[in-house]
């Protein structure tokens, strides 16, 4: 008895250790900067972080395309391997297994060179294309299909089915459980892919969330909540296809997976599955609406600014009288309103985001005031060439903030 209790305690202890990162993540997601309970992180993630949703939908689209093409291809490949005899079948199958076992790091450079030759590097296809043809699916399906009764094919043949219809009407329905197992396995694999996008894509715009979540400073304050939201979908999907997953994998590995299931149980499982399916749809719909809200909110929240180019020339003591005493000739003259005093004198300069979106972002530059007449100020500092300095703003500014330039560029962005 004591042995049993001790064993249980040990099991629970180990499982808690395994779950610890997840528990820490969830607990921390409900705290604010001071450590108290707050929903501030979720408020920021779900309503104000545009890049979170950009990443989320990138991940979702990548996965949708990869799984949507990979599984039919794997099915066809596996059908070929299991049904037909042809020359070189053994070698081909061996090749499939070798390719599956090959670590990504080993083939990274050749893959990069291939993608570069195909001219699709730095585009979403660079991530999608290599993964569409991954061989793991085929391998798993072949194992499963080999165990199928050959007499079914003959029966289908006798009923007048063509080869393709045989595949479509008999093999496919029988493979349902392995298909959902493979879907979950591929989903988990690609939902958390980091290396491939990092190597093949350089634009943040195309990065999946798994990369941007920890790579950018933007999520630093909200990383726990972002992580929690990020892990909801895999959990839901796993729950959704739990039965198929265990059944599919155990069948393909040669173990007896069938259990005696009563009709009531089947019905119960089916309703549970329906509920979970509905849950996934609701989650995705909620994410869609959050995306829309976030898009609008981040537009509203972006400060409106007016920019101006720096000037070169002379500053006079009286700005209205050009004949008054000169304060000297300077290289960089900005309007007085452009200088912010935040402990030290700083100016904010607009730079273009290094991405396909080309948003206007702010850079904070420390400057030294050389001379001023109350309206114009001569400064020295490390300013980019031909830089646009923020002259007026509707809000306090911060480094890295996205802003809306409404005036000062010659063209009006506002409607």
């Amino acid at each position: 008895m004591i042995k049993k209790v001790l064993k249980n305690i040990l099991i629970y202890f180990i499982s808690i250790i395994c779950l610890l990162p997840m528990i820490i993540m969830i607990i921390n997601s409900f705290t604010d900067y001071n450590g108290g309970f707050s929903l501030i992180q979720y408020g920021k993630v779900l309503f104000q972080t545009e890049d979170f949703f950009r990443g989320f939908w990138n991940s979702a689209i990548y996965i949708f395309i990869i799984i949507g093409i990979n599984i039919p291809l794997s099915l066809l490949g596996a059908y070929g391997f299991s049904r037909f005899e042809f020359k070189g079948k053994g070698f081909l199958y061996w090749l499939y297994i070798v390719l599956m076992l090959m670590p990504f790091q080993a083939t990274m450079v050749p893959q990069y060179l291939t993608l570069k030759a195909l001219n699709i590097i730095d585009s979403p296809s660079a991530v999608i294309l290599p993964n569409i043809f991954s061989t793991f699916g085929t391998f798993l399906m072949v194992q499963y299909m080999r165990r199928m009764d050959k007499e079914i094919y003959d029966a289908g043949r006798i009923d007048g089915l063509s080869e393709f219809k045989l595949f479509l009407k008999i093999v496919m329905p029988l493979c349902r459980s392995i298909i959902s197992a493979l879907t979950v396995l591929l989903f988990v694999n690609y939902w958390s892919m980091v290396e491939q996008p990092l190597v093949f894509i350089s634009d943040k715009y195309y990065m999946p969330l798994s990369v941007t979540l920890n790579a950018t400073g933007e999520f630093r304050e909200i990383s726990f909540a972002a992580g929690t939201v990020f892990s909801i979908l895999p959990l839901l999907l796993y729950q959704f296809s739990y039965e198929d997953l265990t059944q599919g994998i155990s069948l393909s590995s040669g173990l007896e997976g069938y259990e005696k299931i009563y009709i009531n149980e089947v019905k119960e499982r089916r309703t549970q599955k329906q509920k979970l399916g509905r849950g996934i749809i609701i989650f995705m719909a909620a994410m869609l609406s959050f995306t829309l809200i976030t898009q609008k909110i981040s537009y509203i929240m972006a400060p409106e600014v007016e920019v101006t180019k720096t000037k070169r020339g002379e500053i006079t003591k009286d700005p209205f009288d050009k004949k008054s005493e000169s304060l000297g000739i300077y290289d960089t003259i900005v309007p007085n309103s452009a200088i912010h005093t935040e402990g030290e004198n700083v100016i904010y300069v607009i730079i273009e985001e290094k991405s396909i979106r080309k948003r206007d972002q702010l850079v904070r530059i420390n400057v030294k005031i050389e001379a001023t007449n109350g309206y114009e100020t001569a400064i020295t500092g490390v300013l980019p060439y031909n830089s646009e300095v923020v002259k007026w703003t509707t809000k306090p500014l911060r480094e890295g903030m996205n802003v809306r330039v409404v005036e000062g560029r010659g063209e009006e962005n506002e409607e």
């Binding site: 309503f47 537009y299 929240m301 309206y375 809000k395 409404v406």
Partner: protein, 385 residues
Amino acid sequence: MKNRKEKNKIKITLIIILSVLTLLLFLIQRNIKKESQNFPSKIEIIFEEKNEIYQKLMGGRKIIEEKYILSETEEKDISFEGKNISIIGIDENYSQINNIEIASGKWITGENQILISEKFVKETNDSFSLGETMDIFGKKYKIVGIYENDKYSKSKIENLYVKKEDIPENLGEGEKTFYSLEVKPKDENRKNFVKEKFFEDVKIISTEEQEEIKIADFTESKRNLSKYYYGFIFIFEIIVLILLTVYLIKSIKLNIKKYQFGTKRKYGKELLSGNMTIVLLQILKTLLLIFLWIFLLRLILEFKLSTPSRFLPPTDIFDFKFYSRIENILREEYGKTVAGYGKIYTNLMRVTKKYFIESVILLIALLSVSISYMCGKFKTAERKL
């Protein structure tokens, strides 16, 4: 069977309620937008005395008038025949900045003429009318025009307009005098940073002096109020999109079921050739709906609501402390002055309330008609069954 019928009943009623509601809300918003056009887009600098800064600004009148329309006014708040009135001495530019609609008569053109409001006429039991002479503390004015009141203003002080030179001097005890300069850019396209640019363009008073004076900024009000209307249209679009999505999914599902059911009895080709026109029409309808769906989605995605970001928190939109702080500031700074954002928003609320009551009455009427119609329909359908 009965259950489904009841469900359908609820659905139809819900759709009708939703559409009627949106239609009525749409009407409210249209009216608000119309009202918002009357709000002047100006900045107002208010002085309690003609101090140094006032003199400085007036000295640079020529510089100001290069880019702006400037109107100088003098306001005296007094009690007249038991009513609080404010006599506003205006110059020739005043009507260019403010929208005052004359109900009868004309605008002030000569000396000792006065413009009174419709409400003032009513409240003094028609003792003043067009063409009559009005005696204010010994000074006589001829009433030349009656202007339309701001419909939704609950302000108890009535404005009477006279020429600036004609403003009566000693009005006895309780007299309060304000001097204000109203400025509007000549360039109608200028929307942003009018207040900030004014001082840059004018370059008469220094930065320290700017902080001393009281400025009410109305330049964004028109834009903000019209956004209220666009915001509503956006919500309307979303509702339509959701309904359309549900309908599309359901109709596609139904068609697939129909096809599956049909193929149990006939071959696919046979099924198609028999109902070619119906199938084509169905496809056409679905395609049109999909195009409409895409169009709506594009509209929704491209919609940009730009509210005044100075009234939004710096980083977190759920920063409720900021909102309460800004509300207090608005109340303190603008609430007591001649007008301000506070007044505009209260006006907006009043317009909304007024049209809301109208809409509710209409809504009830429409609903009762539609429900009685529907009940009739259901009864006939039941009888047929």
